[in-house]
């Protein structure tokens, strides 16, 4: 990654967040009944704090340089991708594997679509999506014997 002369303020902010996480770990370790459970997380929370403080120190003295600027792009699509994946996963225990997977696949196809919708694409893409979902459903459920969620809605 090439560096430029910009100060890495973002890196310093993430380092501060890391210190927060490490403090949370140390606070949580106060409640453990056995000291053997606490010694390892406390030690490495200390390492995380030391490394993060060192980076913030470098930033304060102007020695922490930002990496190359990241590519832009459509933030809404990024957010929607994560939201749809999370929503579909959370819906899986309720509507079942296929009930969640097919709408998720369709929604992600729409989110990732940059080309114009031709008649061919309108017909073929849903067919391919359905084939992928059903193919994996069969592979995991019947061949690998993975108990995929059936959905509480459909359980007697």
């Amino acid at each position: 990654m090439q560096t430029d002369d910009r100060k890495d303020t973002g890196g310093a902010v993430i380092s501060a967040v890391m210190i927060g996480i490490a403090c949370l770990v140390i606070w949580d370790s106060m409640s453990y009944t056995d000291p053997d459970s606490a010694v390892f997380p406390r030690t490495f929370a200390g390492v995380l704090i030391a490394a993060s403080l060192a980076y913030i120190g470098m930033w304060l003295f102007g020695r922490a340089k930002a990496g190359a600027a990241q590519e832009g792009g459509a933030s809404v699509r990024r957010f929607l991708l994560v939201a749809v994946m999370l929503g579909g996963t959370m819906a899986m225990p309720v509507v079942g594997f296929i009930g969640a997977a097919l709408p998720v696949f369709a929604a992600l196809t729409l989110i990732a679509m940059y080309d114009p919708w031709t008649r061919f694409r309108v017909l073929v893409y849903p067919l391919i999506g359905t084939a992928i979902v059903l193919g994996f459903f069969y592979l995991f459920r019947e061949v690998l014997l993975v108990p995929l969620p059936t959905g509480s809605l459909f359980e007697g």
Binding site: M1, V13, D28, D36, V39, V82, T89, F140
Partner: protein, 502 residues
């Protein structure tokens, strides 16, 4: 060569068919993020109970070796290691694929995997009893330092700041503590959440931290995922063989490192490939740019991780201590088949063991044509599939793959959240590799650390326990060398440049 007479037993049409099927199945399964070598071997174990012992072992060995190689496909084409041992393959594999050389990268990976697999299998055949003693020389504190050494390597190898790499490694170690503590049973860092109670599953975290950021960036931009060159360029086998011949020392050295690290139970392919990658980078020739699409990086990683297959079988067969999780599954199948592992195994049940090792060698050789063919198909699929189908297909595989590991929706949620977190911190130079390696090595490190801490406290010699044992001292020296050498070398270069300028 020892046991040469058993080659003919391994060469029966049935065994060859099993080896071929195993390699193909293993390669395909290993290429799917979330489906690990352990899972593929475990699923097929019941099928082997009714088979002749040697055929059963050949099938399992072939699946295992194919799955380790298959992990390279998603590492190269999707920047997602199919198995943890392919983390270092992403460093140069994905940049090569981005430049339009994904086909070349896959061919290099296939050749290197075959070399590594052969070296590991030959070591298993010829040096198993003496090499197995290495595993016995390692105590808890040595495993702790070995894990820290692995983390220091990845911190130093990560692009960008070393301090960020160290912080990422420490964060990974802390994430590995979430859930019920193995040593004392305390519930740690769940903050009352049921989702967190079972901890962070390593493969789900691996998929999330590597694959979700790629998807997030993929969906934000129009255009192809990888650079597409017009026209067919074949396997590019000649080009790859020429490069490999020029870099043969790297391939052999990495295979030897992979074999030796594979002997250490629990260390596995991830440390082996990182140590080999680090060595390849350290001894790079002028003009080689590791981390930006250098084929030598793929050779180091893939040769080493496939060598751990043979290396891992050494303690499994000679000591009954499985080197890796798939070895543990195969050890169970061996016991069912009536094979008694131990130092006398090679003498008492040589026919079965040598037939198995020859089968492993045959499977490794079969990996060359099958790996090239499947790799070419995988590459063409990835570059020709429209983004509107590629993104949902990969996303769907990440969800089902993460779920299938423990049949747990929580793993999928953690995978997606970690992936989004990884994408955010990645924009500020905190890479995923140290966090994932911290997660992988966390249980080994904590177990070794707490055991050494307890023994040290009981003997009132904690400092001596951690810093006084010969192997520990050697690993600590390597760790310090890894962390400090970039600064020392940069300083020396600066002094030299100044002297030239004066």
């Amino acid at each position: 060569m020892a046991g040469f007479e058993h080659l003919l037993t391994a060469l029966t049409p049935l065994n060859l068919a099993f080896a071929l099927f195993g390699v193909v199945a293993g390669t395909v399964i290993g290429a799917i993020p979330g489906l690990t070598a352990t899972m593929s071997v475990a699923v097929l174990v019941p099928l082997t109970f009714a088979m002749p012992t040697s055929s059963a072992l050949i099938l399992m060995g072939a699946i295992y070796t194919g799955a380790i190689y298959g992990g390279a496909y998603s590492a190269i084409l999707l920047n997602t290691p199919g198995t943890p041992s392919a983390i270092a393959t992403t460093f140069d594999g994905y940049p090569l694929a981005k430049k339009g050389d994904g086909d070349y990268a896959i061919t290099i990976a296939c050749l290197a995997s075959v070399i590594g697999g052969l070296v590991g299998a030959v070591a298993l055949m010829t040096l198993a009893p003496p090499l197995s003693q290495v595993a016995l020389a390692f105590g808890p504190v040595e495993y702790f330092w070995l894990a820290i050494f692995g983390l220091s390597l990845i911190a130093a190898l990560s692009e960008g700041s070393l301090i960020k790499g160290v912080a990422g490694g420490a964060l990974g170690l802390l994430l590995s503590c979430i859930g019920v503590a193995e040593v004392a049973g305390d519930v740690r860092m769940t903050f009352g959440s049921q989702t967190m109670l079972s901890g962070i599953q390593i493969v789900a975290a691996l998929i999330g931290l590597f694959c979700i950021p790629v998807l997030i960036d993929l969906v934000a931009q129009p255009g192809h995922h990888l650079k597409v060159d017009s026209g067919s360029r074949g396997f590019r086998l000649g080009e790859a063989v020429r490069y490999l011949w020029g870099d043969k020392i790297n391939a052999i050295r990495s295979a030897v490192i992979g074999t030796v690290v594979g002997i250490l139970p629990g260390a596995g392919g991830s440390i082996a490939s990182l140590v080999s990658y680090s060595e390849a980078q350290r001894t790079a020739k002028p003009g080689q740019t590791y981390g930006k699409g250098e084929p030598g990086g793929i050779i180091a990683s893939e040769s080493a991780n496939n060598a751990t297959v043979g290396g891992g079988f050494i303690p499994t067969l000679v000591l009954g201590i499985p080197g890796t999780p798939p070895d543990a599954v195969i050890l169970g199948a061996l016991l069912v088949q009536g094979v008694r592992t131990g130092p006398s195994l090679f003498a008492n049940q040589g026919e079965i063991v040598y037939t198995f090792i020859w089968g492993l060698i045959l499977a490794t050789i079969l990996m060359l044509p099958t790996g090239l063919l499947i790799g070419r198909y995988a590459y063409r699929t990835i570059i020709t599939l429209p983004k509107a189908l590629l993104v949902p297909a990969i996303a769907f595989m990440t969800i089902i793959g993460s779920y299938a590991i423990r049949n747990n929706i929580s793993d999928v949620i953690i995978m997606i959240v970690l992936g989004a977190f990884g994408w955010i911190i990645g924009r500020f130079g905190f890479t995923a590799s140290p966090i994932v390696l911290g997660l992988i090595l966390g249980p080994i490190a904590e177990s070794g650390f707490v055991q050494a801490w307890t023994i040290g406290r009981a003997t009132e010699n904690q400092m001596g326990m951690f810093f006084g044992r010969p192997i520990s001292i050697a690993i600590i020296v390597f760790t310090l060398f890894t962390l400090l050498s970039p600064f020392v070398l940069a300083r020396l270069k600066k002094i030299k440049d100044q002297a030239h300028a004066d």
